[in-house]
């Protein structure tokens, strides 16, 4: 048992910290720090900066332009990036699709798609959930019928995050309606410029159209865009989900939230007393911090096992449940800390479209929207109920 990072890991941390200090644009950092909404151009800028340094694809092999970082290095990078309020890089191409292409795609597909993820030419989104297939993902109904050298796709996807910015979508489609539900699914890559693809934004509880419905009406997709074998898509989908669950604990994000919360509690007063000195509020903050300290180590236990080659299994479900509960609690505390200043809805300020100062102190404008937005954490990527069922079966053996 040794809780210390190795010398190499510490040197890596220093290198990352220095680079972030030199590279992260101030304006971008301020947007993230204040919980403002990032525009498409903001996200593209951050990707291009990471790509210029060769750090955009932490988990890819170097042969394809990746860093080949192990799980501990990735963890260090995420921790440092969150600490200085760097944007997150978008996972859809980088850590969802790419691992599937690397494991199951053809070499042609890797050569065609991976470089375009890095250079920003392709913005990917995820076509998994459907109105009737949420927690029960294998119930997907979107049909793909083979006609010569094309698939013709008809159906609907939903909850497609940032699909309004995307030009490519990876989809789970049903290719064999007669097989058992997990066995008739294929993994298909679809160019969203193809006639018949329609995107409709969905405004969420925080007032932002973060997710979309994507409709497919007789969309002709070249057969070469099938990943792996027909009807084997469920295997690839599950593989993707385990990759999605790396960093699922969100420890870095929670640390950044805790920093912001302490900053606010050290400035906002209730009844003449700073919140940080109010025994009741301080106790709640301390409890969240204690939970987070333990979570950081629980996360590292899983991460370091993964760095030694053991694939994270049902343990990632544990990280997801507890990690999201802690993160949600922190956003709840931040909202409460703001008192009545959490009330106003200030979309112009949050969009950065207005130079007008926000009502209330720093962090007030985003406090309630962020709290509401983060309710999604326990819903997406396999709801916390689904994760508990996985734990029940895979770890408890019940």
């Amino acid at each position: 048992m040794d809780l210390n990072y190795t010398k190499e890991e510490q040197a890596f941390r220093t290198e990352v910290r220095q680079w972030l200090k030199e590279t992260l644009p101030r304006e971008l950092r301020e947007k993230v720090r204040l919980g403002k909404r990032l525009a498409k151009a903001d996200m593209e800028l951050w990707h291009s900066l990471l790509n210029a340094r060769g750090w955009l694809a932490p988990n890819w092999p170097q042969a394809y332009g990746g860093c080949e970082w192990n799980a501990v290095q990735r963890h260090i990078f995420e921790e440092e990036a969150c600490l200085v309020h760097a944007p997150r890089s978008l996972p859809f191409g980088l850590s969802m699709l790419a691992p599937v292409l690397l494991a199951f795609g053809s070499e042609d597909q890797r050569q065609r798609f991976l470089p375009r993820i890095l250079n920003g030419q392709h913005w990917w989104c995820q076509g998994y959930s459907e109105p009737g297939a949420g927690s029960d993902l294998a119930a997907v109904k979107t049909r793909a019928v083979r006609e010569g050298d094309h698939y013709v796709v008809n159906g609907q996807k939903t909850w497609t995050t940032l699909g309004q910015h995307a030009n490519w979508i990876f989809c789970l489609v049903r290719t064999d309606p007669d097989a058992k539900k997990q066995e008739g699914i294929s993994f298909l890559l679809i160019d969203m410029q193809t006639p018949g693809v329609t995107v409709r934004p969905i405004v969420l509880i925080d007032g932002e159209p973060e997710v979309n419905e994507v409709f497919f009406e007789n969309v002709r997709v070249p057969a070469e865009n099938l990943v792996g074998e027909e009807n084997k898509g469920w295997t690839y989908a599950k593989y993707l989900l385990t990759h999605e669950r790396t960093n699922i604990a969100g420890v870095g994000f929670s640390n950044a939230l805790l920093t912001t919360l302490k900053h606010v509690a050290g400035r906002v007063k209730s009844g003449g007393q700073l919140l940080a000195e109010n025994p009741h509020f301080a106790a709640r903050m301390a409890q969240a911090e204690i939970d987070l300290m333990a979570m950081a180590t629980t996360n590292l236990r899983v991460v370091s096992a993964a760095a030694k080659g053991q694939a994270p299994g049902a343990e990632s479900s544990m990280l997801k449940v507890k990690g999201t509960v802690i993160r949600q609690e922190l956003t709840s505390l931040l909202r409460r800390a703001m008192g009545p200043d959490a009330l106003p809805f200030q979309p112009d300020f949050l969009d950065g479209g207005s130079n007008a100062a926000a009502l209330g102190p720093d962090h007030a404008a985003a406090a309630a929207p962020t709290y509401f937005n983060m309710r999604k954490l326990s819903i997406f990527g396999g709801s916390n109920e689904v994760q508990r069922t996985i734990i029940t079966k895979a770890i408890l053996g019940l």
């Binding site: 209730s270 009545p340 959490a342 009330l343 200030q346 009502l359 309630a368 709290y371 509401f372 819903i379």
Partner: protein, 376 residues
């Protein structure tokens, strides 16, 4: 002991529920929130006609209600339908005018009851958080005039009101209990600037700047420097209203969720068949019933001596804050993604429930006040 409503209150509840079910669709409400109108004037006039505003006042104030249970009955329906229109100002500012006003000032109450005038309470300030006694806005005599200077924040329905009931300090330091007066300020008085916005839950609000606002002595509501007690009493009535409103929103959110658990199928069966969700729904029902009892306790003790009233106000607001968070979060979670969409009513109930916790003291604030009152 009788937990049944009087015939009159039951009739008001039924009429109001029918009217809102008929007229107040979620789509209309969303369109209203997206518009620049603070509220729907036509609906408001109809609510006045139904007697909703009259029920906020006692008979000797020209109303026909005014008791805690009148507030409870009306606001439970307000919460169930997510009403945006300014019923709460009638309780807060309207209640203060009725309680403290001289004959001339009380003429406004008749207009409020008729739905032709909105008076908004302007008590909030940047440094005050939830403390009513924290007043930095000043009221200084200048010859025959009284001059107000300061910024009032989070003035609910400030956009759309014709009159403000503003707290201002005549003597003492920022957080002193004495020295606070209340003033009737027509919004068209020179020096008054109302900057409107909407809150997260769609309720119109405003920041009001009072810059050398010259009033006459006739604008003072009640005795000079003695406004705090009346303000606290009016806010206790306001707390009854918003606690009952939260109760209605909880009932509505719970009903939506029960229906969804029965309809939504995953893994080949309605998700309501999963015991993991059934037990959580049962816990929610228990909490909502507890919330109802807390509102009843407050409504029934509203006219008790000050400390008794305050204990029940804090108990109810604390419990409602906790139950409201539970219901909002659990209903969203059990719905999944659909519960987070603006198109679906649940997210609106969740927003209202959450924002009610940020009005007139959150669950933490009232827990501390409860402890202090019990210790005293």
């Amino acid at each position: 002991m009788d937990f049944n409503l009087t015939e009159e209150r039951a009739m008001l509840r039924d009429t109001l529920r029918r009217f809102l079910a008929d007229k107040y669709s979620h789509e209309n409400r969303r369109a209203l929130i997206a518009s620049s109108e603070p509220y729907d004037a036509e609906i408001y006039a109809e609510l006045a006609e139904l007697g909703v505003l009259g029920a906020m006042f006692r008979e000797d104030q020209d109303g026909f209600g005014g008791e805690g249970f009148d507030l409870m009955v009306v606001f439970e329906e307000v919460g169930r339908a997510g009403v945006i229109e300014p019923v709460l100002p009638a309780v807060l500012a309207g209640g203060l005018i009725a309680a403290l006003g001289n004959d001339r000032q009380r003429e406004l109450v008749d207009e409020i009851i008729a739905g032709t005038h909105v008076a908004a309470l302007a008590q909030g300030e940047a440094g005050a958080r939830y403390d009513l006694n924290h007043v930095e806005t000043t009221a200084v005599a200048d010859g025959d005039a009284i001059v107000l200077n300061g910024i009032k924040t989070h003035v609910l329905y400030g956009a759309g009101a014709q009159t403000l009931v503003a707290s201002a300090r005549e003597t003492g330091a920022a957080a002193d209990m004495a020295g606070i007066s209340l003033f009737l300020v027509p919004v068209n008085t020179p020096g008054v600037t109302v900057n409107g916005h909407r809150n997260m839950d769609g309720i119109p609000s405003a920041t009001v700047t009072l810059d050398g606002v010259r009033l006459t002595d006739a604008a003072r509501l009640g005795a000079a420097g003695e406004g705090l007690d009346a303000l606290e009493a009016a806010v206790a009535r306001g707390l009854t209203a918003i606690c009952a409103e939260a109760l209605g929103a909880m009932e509505a959110a719970k009903d939506l969720t029960i229906s969804y658990l029965k309809e939504r199928k995953q893994f080949g069966m309605p998700i309501g068949k999963f015991q993991a969700l059934q037990h959580r729904m049962a816990d929610m029902l228990i909490e909502v019933e507890q919330a109802r009892s807390a509102v009843i306790n407050l409504a029934g003790n509203l006219d008790q001596p000050r400390d008794v009233r305050k204990i029940h106000a804090s108990a109810a607001k604390n419990l409602i804050g906790r139950a409201g968070a539970l219901v909002a979060e659990e209903c969203i979670q059990m719905h999944g993604g659909i519960g987070m969409t603006d198109e679906y009513a649940l997210s609106h109930f969740a927003r209202r429930l959450t924002m009610i916790d940020h009005l007139f003291g959150d669950s933490d604030y009232h827990l501390e006040r409860f402890i202090a009152l019990k210790a005293g």
